[in-house]
Assembly symmetry: C2
Homo-oligomer: 366 residues x 2
């Protein structure tokens, strides 16, 4: 189709695509809602009542723009982490922050290294700014730190992206391994450490917050353990010079007012977070047992989801489709070697029971 | 200061700046809150109770990501306007949409035309992508359509930005004038028509929605008459090929879930919108009378604010500072010729009374 409008050379060939097809889109295609929405790693355990109350009370003031300095939530996070607010930056979710780091650091022709099959939205932002990542495959269900480091050094990479714990595998590395990995990268390589799921991980998976890792931007979110995915709020932890560079290009008024207020309240409800973590651990154990029962081995998980190994990509796709037919929404990795797996978010007790029954039924047939 | 990090050539020299200093920032500097927050053209008349109820009920599901297709709100707006959903695009406010159009359409070295002193966030996005606008001054307190068109044609401009009704002037042109202006632009020039304030304007200020104006992207928002500035949701009206180009680079999951739900409910409360418009008209009349009383002529306004003419820039700045000292937050244009003015949002009856008294007191002294 010829273009009738003067799109830039960069934008013209890009596909009109969504990195993830939303469950609502699938529901509209099917003409039927899902009974278990356990495909997008959304929290099944809601939000803190404190956060809910704070947001609810703030609705009547939604006519006011938010504070473009994000002063309250930025200081709240800094206090929570025990660091100065100058080391904390706020964004409308990690997706927003990933777009910004691509824009801030990468020149045309520079190399970017990540794992093949890593978070699609990072690749989406790379493509949107004219870049493409160099990749290494998962190895034994984990990010291959040695191969990533080798490739980053061989290409003098400008940026490396790693999620720890990993999505979509669920596996993780220890803080010691992550720190050694960071040190092994070229000195002018920006290391994006996506810790969206860190609250679900063993304590030794997270490097200490201080001292700030050099050239490293850690990203965290209120979308997972805090149950605020629809609110769009996340943050970075980095050197103050990096944090202030975001001020040059970010949408200062872009983080919803209720999201900021809710996130601040959520930070104050440690008991809620602990309950969510405990519920997720319980659900993970159930899924692991289910996988053993059905001959679908699960990868170890430090996240709020579990990745089941179906043996090969065709069978994994078959199971995914059959689950959808039974009104269970899950997702699967799209590229080898993890495309032989499907990924299931820890749901509520009811959702887990519904999913388990569906999976048992399917495996009897497949 | 030397840079310790590999920022891109484009980003390195950019200032770490906020297009607008937020009232909260001023309050922290002053150590005192404002009693009348009437500087950011936020609605003083809150949000529809229907929208408030819908958002409130949706908080418990904020753990779900939003629908990346924005299906419900997109269709709701399309129905509201009587056009196909293919002609409607959703964004996290007009600020978000402005950043996207700059990215989608402008190559390095191309010309962009707007009025000197037009919406600072448009200039912020231009700078953020390496561009700078060519400008023509306001003329008699209005956008100078003839001069804008002449400059756009002389430079073969890629993009023209115009707000109608205008911010910060408040003045407007008729639909006939806007349509003639659009037709006068080069055939491959993208015309950004920012209609953030259109609901407050006389009916003849808005071109018909159909047929869609060629090469034109109209932008509207829930931040003004709907009183949802803190929610971050706005939309574009344009040819479907333009709308679908946004899918190539936008944040599909970037529009807060409550914002989408609240906006849809707000569209259904026409009575609320009519009350807000009536209240704003009442407030504008009060401000106009106040200006006459105090010898501070006001510009005609088709918005939710009124721009007072203080005669010269120094006096305008003096009045602005004095108002702040009396706990009244207003803003003023920064560049000639409108820098001789200050801009006051229509507040609640109480805020207007407080402001009027403060202004009377100040004018007696200045």
């Amino acid at each position: 189709m010829p273009d009738n409008y003067p799109f830039t050379k960069l934008v013209r060939p890009l596909p009109s695509t969504v990195p993830f097809v939303g469950p609502e889109t699938l529901e509209r295609r099917r003409g039927r809602t899902f009974r278990a929405r356990i495909g997008a790693n959304e929290s099944a355990f809601g939000i803190s009542l404190l956060a809910q109350k704070a947001m609810s009370e703030a609705i009547s003031r939604i006519s006011w723009y938010n504070d473009p300095d994000n002063f309250d939530i930025r200081n709240g996070i800094a206090d929570h982490l025990g660091i100065p607010p100058e080391n904390v930056g706020i964004g409308a979710g990690i997706d927003d922050l990933l777009g910004l780091v691509v824009r801030i650091f990468i020149e045309q022709g520079e190399y970017i290294v990540t794992t093949l099959g890593a978070y699609p939205t990072f690749h989406y932002h790379l493509a949107g700014f004219g870049h493409q990542a160099q990749t290494v495959p998962y190895r034994d269900g984990r990010n291959d730190l040695q191969a990533l480091s080798d490739l980053a050094n061989r290409t003098s990479a400008r940026m490396v992206y790693l999620s720890n714990p990993d999505n979509p595998a669920g596996t993780w590395h220890t803080a010691t391994e992550i720190e050694a990995f960071a040190s092994s990268l070229p000195s002018d390589c920006i290391f994006i450490l996506d810790e969206a799921y860190i609250e679900f991980a063993p304590e030794d998976a997270a490097p200490l917050i201080l001292p700030i890792l050099p050239c490293t931007i850690r990203m965290r979110t209120f979308s997972k353990v805090y149950g605020m995915a629809g609110a769009r709020i996340g943050y970075t932890i980095a050197d103050s010079e990096i944090i202030s560079s975001f001020e040059k290009v970010r949408h200062h008024f872009g983080v919803n007012r209720l999201a900021q207020i809710g996130a601040l309240a959520a930070l104050g409800d440690r008991a809620f977070v602990n309950r969510v973590i405990a519920s997720v651990e319980e659900g993970r154990a159930e899924y692991t047992a289910l996988g053993e029962e059905l001959g679908l081995p699960t990868l170890p998980s430090a996240t709020n989801f579990v990745t089941f190994d179906a043996g090969d990509a065709q069978r994994a796709a078959g199971i995914l489709g059959a689950l959808q037919d039974l009104d269970v929404f899950v997702r699967k990795p799209g590229v080898p070697p993890l495309d032989r797996c499907f990924r299931v978010t820890v749901g509520t007790e009811e959702e887990r029971a519904f999913f388990s029954e569906a999976l048992r039924q399917i495996v009897r047939l497949h």
